[in-house]
């Protein structure tokens, strides 16, 4: 199906009343969790996974995509009005956006953020519409060794890029990989790391690990270091909406932000943080009003917000076409696909065309809904922040228990929630990144399958892993991802040591 026909078909599905309802529910929840602290899109989708038994897949993914996009919008609202970024991607927005709000220009900041998000989200979705089918076609010629090399690259880059320390990133990744090994080995039927516990034979539940790491770890961490400042709401009243000058200063940053966000979001370990940061830096360099930066420059809101939302669309490209998750949210969406017995990848576009195109079309619809939900109602959303913290976090724990107990009513899952929750707490205290655990847990078993297939094709020759041009290239990139920063670090420390020797 070519993209245009596919998209038209998708709209016929996304515009059905019940699917519109799911899209609305998703965008609504997404905005709410974007505003609230302690709960993000990955966690929300994980908590909703048990519900998927009763909802048909197209409806569920329309809702999930709404949550994913909505969280990006909600995060910007609180950054601007309260200087509390609800999501990591909204950190840069807080810098300039909150200054603008303090200068009485909050409405303009919200406006440029929302419209920028809409523009970027729509362009990003257009990119997804037209890029995904050819990439999916390309994926047909992928051999097992290519997939294995791609996953290897994803492992390494996630561990190197996320967090501050490579060793800690890799510890996280390997913990995830080890958890992914638990259960019956699919190729030989032997039990691995089950310790004789029958509940572990099916493997470790992704939902349990994700909910424990995010919700339980966060609750323990925040409770132990709780110190809430009363939200200091910047009044919106009296602010003016975007002036002609604001429009003129915003549209270029929107487009540049999209240009950063979409491709970086599509890369393994790209995420939303790097493109928002890049966009902010570039706008700061290019602006004609450098004196305003740090005091509320509209470019510093428009660019990062656009980058943030475009990256969300970018993340969906490798997920839908190759089945490769590049962020925690994407990993949990992959788990949702697996719940339905669907494998994202080239075949998804052929076997489940309704679902894929319905999902892509619903992204356009969702973006429009978000613009309508967010622009006039920004002031209302912020009220969510006044929920008393004791009840907010207690409620999060109860929803977590629904998610964990609801999976299989297993005591082992509850014990794992406690242990993994404590691990999530320690990871926050000692600054270990969390996403690599999830990527290792979900991609590890898939990488093993591809590794075995490749070896079977190559009749046991390990050279099979570099036998195609693509796999050789990807393995080479993976090699450089590890070695280049290490060499640079070594040279830098040697220089410092030398200069110390000279001065000493």
């Amino acid at each position: 199906m070519d993209p245009i026909t596919g998209l038209m078909h998708g709209f016929s599905i996304a515009l059905q009343p019940q699917n519109l309802m799911w899209a609305f529910l998703g965008t609504f929840m997404g905005t709410a969790i974007g505003v609230l602290p302690g709960i993000g899109p990955a966690l929300t989708i994980a908590l909703l996974l048990p519900v998927t038994v009763y909802i048909e897949p197209t409806a569920a993914f329309i809702m999930f995509a709404g949550i994913f996009y909505g969280a990006m919008y909600g995060g910007s609202t609180t950054s601007i009005l309260l200087n509390t970024p609800g999501e990591s991607g909204a950190m840069m927005t807080a810098l300039e956006g909150n200054r603008m709000a303090r200068n009485g220009r909050g409405a303009a900041a919200l406006c440029t953020a929302a419209i920028g998000s809409f523009v970027a989200g729509t362009i990003g979705t257009l990119g997804l519409t037209f890029l995904a089918p050819p990439i999916a076609e390309l994926a047909f010629i992928f051999k097992p060794q290519d997939y294995f090399a791609l996953m290897l690259l994803a492992f390494l880059s996630v561990s190197v890029v996320m967090g501050t320390s490579k060793v800690r990133g890799f510890v996280s990744l390997f913990i995830g990989l080890s958890l992914g090994l638990v259960g019956i080995d699919k190729a030989t039927g032997q039990q691995r790391l089950t310790f004789g516990v029958p509940d572990l034979m099916d493997g470790v539940e992704m939902t349990v690990v994700l909910v424990s790491l995010f919700a339980i770890g966060e609750t323990l961490y925040v409770a132990s270091r709780y110190g809430m400042q009363k939200p200091n709401l910047n009044p919106l009243a009296g602010g003016i909406w975007m002036t002609k000058e604001d429009w003129k200063r915003s549209w270029k940053p929107w487009l540049r932000g999209t240009f950063f966000g979409f491709p970086i979001g599509a890369l393994p370990a790209g995420g939303a943080e790097i493109p928002t940061f890049l966009s902010y830096t570039v706008e700061r360099k290019l602006t004609k009003h450098p004196e305003e930066f740090g005091h509320g420059a509209i470019e510093g809101v428009a660019g990062p917000e656009a980058a943030n939302n475009a990256s969300a669309a970018g993340v969906l490209v490798p997920l839908l076409t190759l089945g490769l998750p590049t962020s925690a949210t994407a990993a949990i969406m992959l788990a949702a696909f697996q719940n339905y017995g669907l494998q994202p990848g080239p075949l998804l576009f052929i076997n489940s065309g309704d679902l894929v195109w319905g999902l892509i079309a619903s992204l356009y619809v969702g973006n429009l809904m978000l613009l309508i939900l967010n622009l006039p109602l920004a002031g209302l959303w912020v009220r969510l922040l006044f929920i008393p913290r004791p009840y907010l976090y207690a409620g999060i724990l109860i929803f977590s228990l629904v998610g964990i107990w609801g999976v299989s009513n297993s005591w082992v899952d509850l014990a794992m929630m406690f242990v993994v929750g404590l691990m999530g707490y320690a990871m926050r205290v000692y600054d270990f990144p969390i996403a690599p655990v999830l990527i290792g847990l979900i991609l590890g078993p898939m990488a093993e399958v591809q590794m075995r297939r490749a070896l079977a094709i190559g009749q046991g020759d390990p050279m099979v892993f570099v036998s195609t041009p693509l796999s050789a290239l990807l393995i080479a990139i993976a090699f450089f991802v590890i070695t280049v920063p290490a060499v640079l670090h070594w040279r830098r420390t040697r220089k410092i040591a030398q200069s110390e020797d000279i001065s000493g």
Binding site: V171, I175, Y226, L401, V402, N409, M417
Partner: protein
Amino acid sequence: MTERPYWIAAGTVGWGAIVLLKAAELPQFDQYAYIGPGFLPSAVGAGLVLLGLMLAVQIRQGVPFEEQEAEDVSETHAVSYKALGFAAAACALPMLTMPKLGFVITCTGCFVLVAAAFKSERWLLNAAIGLAFSATSWWLFRKLGVQLGGFLPLLGV
């Protein structure tokens, strides 16, 4: 003073060693798939041991461990072990009570404990809110098809 959390390195090495030991019980190679069920566990276990040792070296060199930023966290990151204890108790409670006392009572208990961790000690009011919230969640998610067990398993409901 630099904090030296050697226990994390020890834990990583320990878990890696367990994975390695368990993997050693399995065949490493296979006639048809070439890689046996024990091969990857061995590799991952060895990786964990190695990473744990590297972490220990870094800790010895005095690598800083800075706490992650989060919302609602006080600026000084001052730790209240009492609050941490309450929150940990809330997370441990389901292991004890969920199978016997059921979802609603367990969640009410968790609600009160988490609220206490966040310095809200109006026990009765919190219990009432927690009960209402838990019962509503139980009813709502059951409607959606999530199996959460009986309302009060002790009474057979």
